[in-house]
């Protein structure tokens, strides 16, 4: 009887143990993107994006801890103006030069969390460091609409949400055309990630 009880107790506790363990999620590059916004000439807000960031996060919902790591190819920066027409360069090409992202010399920028705060059961704020143009500075992200659960079609476990933040590009040495192109850059990250099997 005691032996049966012990086996039942072990079997019952297995899912709890699995739930308590940190879970690693890999970013779904198709459904993850980073949008940016700067003000142009004090007039309009100019928006663009980076395509297909890669990365992962580790989530321990029982312990309410997490870590995030995202890498972006700077050459994927896009303003929507990629066709030169009769001009010597498009805006996207200009964004890749040393005036802005210097994509040849610094092909990636990365974000790594240093601490995460939960809001109830969900991610709330992420403190971390952004490395851009070889300079690393703190960047705080506010997470909204964070949800985890199975993909309704594939049934794979996934998490997703939106994060927002802002930084001064001059802090990273990107001083070209400040203030005509605003120093403050706002970013929005829409992120989806699947649990590693």
């Amino acid at each position: 009887m005691n032996k049966r009880f012990a086996i039942a107790a072990i079997a019952f506790s297995l899912p709890l143990g699995a739930l308590a363990a940190p879970e690693t999620y890999t970013i779904d590059t198709i459904h993850t993107s980073i949008q940016w916004e700067v003000n142009h000439l004090g007039m309009s807000n100019w928006r663009g994006r980076f395509e297909r960031p890669v990365g992962k996060f580790v989530l321990d919902r029982a312990e309410k801890s997490a870590s995030v790591e995202i890498t972006v190819q700077t050459a994927t920066v896009s303003s929507g103006d990629h066709d030169r027409g009769s001009r010597p360069r498009s805006l996207d090409e200009h964004l890749r030069t040393p005036d802005f992202f210097n994509a040849t010399e610094f092909p990636t920028m990365t974000y790594k969390s240093t601490s995460v705060e939960f809001n109830g059961d969900k991610l709330g704020t992420i403190a971390g460091n952004l490395t851009l143009l070889g300079v690393t500075k703190p960047l705080h992200l506010n997470v909204e609409n964070w949800n985890c659960g199975p993909n309704p079609y594939s049934k794979k476990e996934m998490c997703g949400g939106n994060a927002t933040g802002s930084f001064k590009r001059s802090d990273f040495g990107m001083k070209y055309a400040v203030p005509a192109v605003s120093d403050v850059v706002k970013i929005w990250i829409q992120i989806e990630a699947y649990k590693n099997q």
């Binding site: 010597p88 090409e93 030069t97 040393p98 610094f106 070209y176």
Partner: protein
């Protein structure tokens, strides 16, 4: 005032020219008028970037060399007599400096492309430095005209290649060379150029053009064409003509070659898929 200093024409042209003119007038008699070109370049760096050298990027290496070049120049002018061997040594040192600036970036490219670009930037920069040191450094009008053509050529080609910062640095060099020439044209008295002027002018302009090629979209043909600017400054001038006329003619020669550099950059940029 602050808005004025943010204007690209002030950052690239007016402010560097004014500072360079002050230096040329103040130090001309001390054989240091050549520092005018460094004053112009430093003004542009101050206005659009900073003198922070960490991390040591390609652009910051160019700025560092642009600031170090006049020190070498002053040493060469005051401690040594100008010789051909000295010019060759400066050319070789410039080639090494150019590889130091660009090789970390070029090494990430395919081997054939890396060698083509490395060869172009090294030959162009070393050629400009060596030729100018040997044939132009003792001729302030020719040297100033070469600086004018190199600066404006590198600057305008950089605009076409996509980098406004590099354009600002190049045009500032041109403004500095203009400020070096102007007092000579107005007074009819020469200001010594020497290595103090020639080395910063040619090395910095060469590195700017090379940077716009490696990091933006200036083509290697354009950089090689720019390297012919000092050769144009060597074309015959009427020896007995007034200095202002010699300066106008020499500048015309160099600006034609600089114009060809920009025309190639313009044509090729239009012909390349965006």
């Amino acid at each position: 005032m602050r808005e004025l200093l943010h204007h690209p024409a002030v950052q690239a042209g007016v402010a560097p020219f004014v500072l360079a003119l002050i230096v040329a007038l103040a130090l001309g008699r001390a054989r240091l008028g050549g520092l005018a070109i460094v004053a112009a370049f430093a003004t542009a760096v101050y206005l659009i970037a900073d003198f922070n050298f960490s991390p040591l990027t390609v652009t910051r290496k160019i700025i560092l060399l642009g600031m170090a070049a006049p020190i070498v120049g002053i040493l060469a002018d005051f401690a040594f007599k100008p010789t051909r061997a000295g010019g060759v040594m400066l050319a070789l040192a410039s080639a090494a400096a150019t590889l130091w600036v660009f090789w970390p970036v070029l090494a990430q490219r395919e081997t054939a492309q890396a060698w083509l670009l490395a060869g172009t930037v090294t030959v162009a920069t070393a050629g400009m430095v060596g030729f100018s040191q040997i044939f132009l450094s003792e001729h302030p009008i020719r040297a100033g005209s070469a600086g004018l053509g190199l600066g404006l050529g590198a600057g305008i080609a950089s605009i076409l290649g996509g980098s406004a910062n590099y354009a600002t640095y190049g045009i500032a060099l041109g403004a500095g060379a203009g400020a070096f020439l102007l007092p000579q044209m107005l007074t009819g008295r020469k200001i010594a150029a020497g290595t103090t002027f020639v080395l910063p002018a040619t090395l910095t302009a060469g590195l700017i053009a090379a940077g716009a090629m490696v990091l933006a979209q200036v083509q290697w043909y354009s950089v090689l064409m720019l390297a012919l600017v000092p050769v144009a400054a060597r074309l015959p001038l009427p020896a007995k003509a007034a200095l202002w006329l010699q300066a106008v003619l020499a500048s015309l020669y160099t600006l034609i070659v600089a114009g060809l550099t920009c025309a190639i950059a313009w044509q090729l940029s239009r012909g390349t898929a965006g």
